[in-house]
């Protein structure tokens, strides 16, 4: 098992953990944080590949992901805030207005 494999495994594990967190946790903010975790996992694998191939494209994408993550947080949190104000609860399972 060499380094690349390990790193990739770690990246996959982080990503899966993040996704699992989205599935499993109830708190809206915690879900958001798990999504951040997913993004980090992706970043790791991107960096690994970029290093491996000596290609700057990976780094560029990493940068892009940073920006996307930032923007996402900047917008998702206000939305959650507003929602919480309406529903008076941070429990995702209570939000089923889109049902049907």
């Amino acid at each position: 098992m060499d380094k690349v494999h390990l790193l990739l495994l770690l990246s996959g594990a982080l990503f899966s953990l993040g996704l699992l967190g989205v599935i499993v946790r109830r708190n809206a903010l915690v879900m958001l944080m798990c999504m951040e975790l997913m993004l980090n996992g992706v970043n790791l694998s991107l960096v690994t590949f970029s290093q491996q191939r000596g290609d700057a494209a990976g780094a560029v994408l990493v940068f892009l992901v940073f920006v996307v993550a930032t923007v996402e947080i900047a917008l998702a949190i206000p939305i959650v805030l507003l929602l919480v104000r309406f529903k008076r609860s941070m429990d995702i399972d209570r939000y089923s207005d889109l049902k049907g």
Partner: protein, 167 residues
């Protein structure tokens, strides 16, 4: 370092309080930053810590503290999809692992000798990958505009001084 990252990630899922979850996430990110450094891409590591930990997580912590007060205690931690979720998770990890093993890989170059430097990266970013560069600017603008829109909505809806939804 990788192991610590993994551990804290698992902790994220297990901890009850959101505050503690945030701390675990910060740990994970810092560890990842370290990994990047070890890999030789220092500038990315710098970005990671700066942007993620410095801005994003600070924001999250701030919001958690803000909303903490309203949280009704005694909430259940996990959703009803726990069991299926974990099952799917195991499958996914297994599949990913097998995929990784099946793939061939070159030996990583020795750390300390970065294949590309910051200068190289910047030049590439501005010349060959200029589109992504522009995209980032657009994203940021969009974010600002959206944030303003959210403020407006919240003002209209609540009619009073808006909340603290400021990035």
């Amino acid at each position: 370092m990788g192991a610590v990252a993994l551990l804290s990630a698992v902790l994220m899922l297990v901890l009850r309080e959101p505050m503690r979850v945030a701390l675990a996430l910060i740990t994970t990110m810092v560890m990842l930053g370290g990994i990047y450094g070890l890999l030789g891409v220092h500038f990315i590591a710098a970005f990671q810590v700066l942007i993620y930990v410095g801005a994003v997580m600070v924001f999250m912590v701030y919001v958690i503290m803000l909303l903490e007060v309203r949280e009704a205690p005694g909430n259940r931690r996990y959703s009803r999809w726990l069991v299926p979720g974990v099952t799917a998770f195991a499958t996914l990890v297994g599949v990913l692992g097998i995929s990784v093993y099946r793939s061939s890989a070159d030996v990583l170059t020795a750390p300390g000798a970065p294949p590309f430097s910051l200068t190289q990266f910047s030049t590439a970013f501005l010349s060959q990958y200029w589109l992504e560069f522009e995209l980032t600017s657009v994203f940021l603008v969009a974010a600002i505009v959206a944030a303003l829109a959210v403020i407006k909505v919240s003002r209209r809806v609540h009619g009073s001084a808006p909340g603290s939804a400021n990035g």
